[in-house]
Symmetry: D2
Subunit: 287 residues, 4 copies
Amino acid sequence: MIRLQFSLELAYTVLTPSADFFFDFHPAYTPQQTVMLENLTVSQAAATWSLQQDASGQRSMRLQAQSGPLKVNYQATVEIAHYSDDPAQIPEVPVYQLPLEALHYIYPSRYCQSDRLAAYAFALFGHLPQGYSRARAVCDWVQQHVQFRSNSSSGTTSAIDTLVERVGVCRDFAHLMIAMCRAINLPARFVTGTDYGADPALGPPDFHAYVEVYLGGRWYMFDPSGTAIPMGMMRLATGRDAADAAFATIFGGVQSEPPRIEVLAEQNGHQWQLPVHTNQGLSTAVV
Amino acid sequence: MIRLQFSLELAYTVLTPSADFFFDFHPAYTPQQTVMLENLTVSQAAATWSLQQDASGQRSMRLQAQSGPLKVNYQATVEIAHYSDDPAQIPEVPVYQLPLEALHYIYPSRYCQSDRLAAYAFALFGHLPQGYSRARAVCDWVQQHVQFRSNSSSGTTSAIDTLVERVGVCRDFAHLMIAMCRAINLPARFVTGTDYGADPALGPPDFHAYVEVYLGGRWYMFDPSGTAIPMGMMRLATGRDAADAAFATIFGGVQSEPPRIEVLAEQNGHQWQLPVHTNQGLSTAVV
Amino acid sequence: MIRLQFSLELAYTVLTPSADFFFDFHPAYTPQQTVMLENLTVSQAAATWSLQQDASGQRSMRLQAQSGPLKVNYQATVEIAHYSDDPAQIPEVPVYQLPLEALHYIYPSRYCQSDRLAAYAFALFGHLPQGYSRARAVCDWVQQHVQFRSNSSSGTTSAIDTLVERVGVCRDFAHLMIAMCRAINLPARFVTGTDYGADPALGPPDFHAYVEVYLGGRWYMFDPSGTAIPMGMMRLATGRDAADAAFATIFGGVQSEPPRIEVLAEQNGHQWQLPVHTNQGLSTAVV
Amino acid sequence: MIRLQFSLELAYTVLTPSADFFFDFHPAYTPQQTVMLENLTVSQAAATWSLQQDASGQRSMRLQAQSGPLKVNYQATVEIAHYSDDPAQIPEVPVYQLPLEALHYIYPSRYCQSDRLAAYAFALFGHLPQGYSRARAVCDWVQQHVQFRSNSSSGTTSAIDTLVERVGVCRDFAHLMIAMCRAINLPARFVTGTDYGADPALGPPDFHAYVEVYLGGRWYMFDPSGTAIPMGMMRLATGRDAADAAFATIFGGVQSEPPRIEVLAEQNGHQWQLPVHTNQGLSTAVV
């Protein structure tokens, strides 16, 4: 089991009389992810906010702030119990048998235009044996063919752009993997989470975007960017692509500072383990 | 109240050993739309199928057919009780107060790239008084600036394409209106329905794509293509755009004939009225 | 040496009071391509036309026709003397030494967005030994990865579209090969010509689009669509892509019938040979 | 007559063993633009370079530099004699009568996809009286509908992008105006020049991109960005769009510093005048 200490500081200056913020930075409540303790502070006395949980356990906060500086501080202790399985034992689910919720993730979305990639994806992956290994092959292909470069993409960059230009950040790797999976009829979705930054070579902890593919009746995690340790990734929001699952969406004139994030993994010898790379299929979601 | 007799005949030839069909041609069950009688016939004895209803009342049928000819016949009697209101009394809902379900329809989707249209849409509609009339202005603008031409677009045509090329079919009009609405923070969604073809000038009854905009706590209907009588439109499926709400999605090698559709409105003087054009705001959905 | 009998019949109906036609169907005058006899008939007595030759020998005809039917008939006898060389002996020209005319063909154009393909093209072809064989590798790659399908593309389809969707006609194969070549700094251009339809499996004679790459101080011909016998291709117009080199560009309201084309190769045992497939590098242009 | 003192300093660090530079920073030799004195210094003793002039008087410099720092300094005195005419007297040239050279500029190019804009452009400008005033209307429309914002676009941004997103720099304003002109059959081309920065509100002298439209047998200058005084613009390179007419194209690993540019207008009361805004049609090119 993984136990993470998550700490976040967001700093803004509201330039208009007021501004609305929609935040998805609360760790989701799921059967596999338990939020033990959490603490939220908002610096503006006059700000109003509320927290709302949807059927999947995702928690969305909306906050209305007034002109001037705004700080939002959040800390939580989160425990993640991964389901893991032997990749060789994880089958694909035939389209005809997909549950309705998973079926939606087979269709194209804003940044994952799978409808245009059928021939491309079938040529690459159509002949491979079905199962977890095929999703893994898509993940590896994306990682091998796209170069990670900070600030190489923008908010409108899509999977097609990344496929053509072969460069991006974690969001772009995720979009391309999702688009390719859907093009071969594998339901795939976008997760906004945090990256446990244990490995200095991979950089400090940060928000992260990764992929889940529906296989064997569960959603299995993949990190096509190869910049994180999947076992240390914590779920914030889930959606079809980044259009659904931004950690912050802002309406109004607002100046933002880079978020400050800390993620520490606890270790006590028996109960809490440090996240490590594994060849097992890892999952934290059934729906 | 409107009472429609709906009749549909679909004819395919399955060329592969089997094929999977996902159909959304059943009229949705909603508080405003009641399906009185319905009858479904599938020509293949060996075909298996099931019908599933989601939380919104949309009914999805999945069918697995074998090689060879396949006919699907469906008839239903459907009653629609429209909610109508004075446009001057229908306000916009501030983003901060949008229910979570409506909030999703403010984000960009596959064919409605509202994230790229903010400047364009604000220049056209940002200065207009808020309310139903603003959504109507978007609808009128789309109708006036896009030319209807059969077969002028394809399955990958998006709102941006239509904005640039100024030509399309009902699906394209809907996508452009939705994208423009979202760009000015109006939740908007795509409805696949049928078009009551009473007016010979507008063509025979057919599948139709139209738009719903979230205003005053309800979803109001708009027909940016101007080719239908909104009061006669019947809801089949609802989604972010055509990626979500096709009447048929097919996996396998299949040859299709054009669907044969009939929609007849009953009229009995007092209870059942013929659909007519109206200046009122019309709605058949709260969620 | 190749000797072709070329015959063309174009039939239009002008629907507006008048219409302007720009035709590039005259075989170009070049040192390697000699037009022996030619005959042109225009059916409208009132039509005016003129023929103009540019520095490269390309001949453009402009014609102004009046309302009503218009037929244009053209016949020519054309001799083509190919320069051929051993592929192993044909080097690339370093960018620094490219003549100014060739340099233009290294830049992106409307349908060949090589500026976006640098990473993609270098990953595929950057490590290959320089020379004719590298251009051949691009040609083969395009032929292997794109499927030929009639009517699968439109006048706005670009190399990026073809790269993503993997389907097209000869124009699309040419655009993709050109874009990939330019992305690795090989000057490449678009030729509109005719296809000697000797092989019934490849279809009847037709207009054709093919590619020339600047290597070893000459332009070498490539047919990435693989649908023609390059030795039998006759040059009409040359440009950066299809935007430059349409066989007909029309201004006005005009209804067109499919052009009727005949290309016959003469054979007399010694002087005139039938076009055949060859492994040699073939060229008919120095500039 | 305008007399400009032009001074340019370019500073690079070549990171690879060598790098090739193609520069178009020499003022073009044209009948209306005379280069009186010029001086070029290249800091690397081992660098080789040459200067080549094409038929239009454009001068391209190619330079091969070695690893390490590279500075290129250039100064010139340039006299520009503008042809000016009353806009009301400047007609459009019917397509049928366009000279072959101008005809090329009616076709779409990499960043000016006029082939997709016919309906859009005809709706806006199709009904206007033909002549200089119509090109002026396109220029004004672009200026009014696009917002100038530094760093808002990239090297792959096209006219379609700018039309949709309504923001850009001078290059983007030029591309959109060119695309719109071509869509209504007005030949239009891209000029890379310098901006006489007399007006502090418009910023210091800089490289600039502007437009020429073929009217009345000449190329007339337009500045759709509205950031320069057209009379003070000096021609460096001319092409279909930015793909053709970059001031520098670099092959190799090179780090660049921002160019340092000075443009001073001489004034001596009678012969040399300061550039001023004018309502006349201004031209410096017949071909």
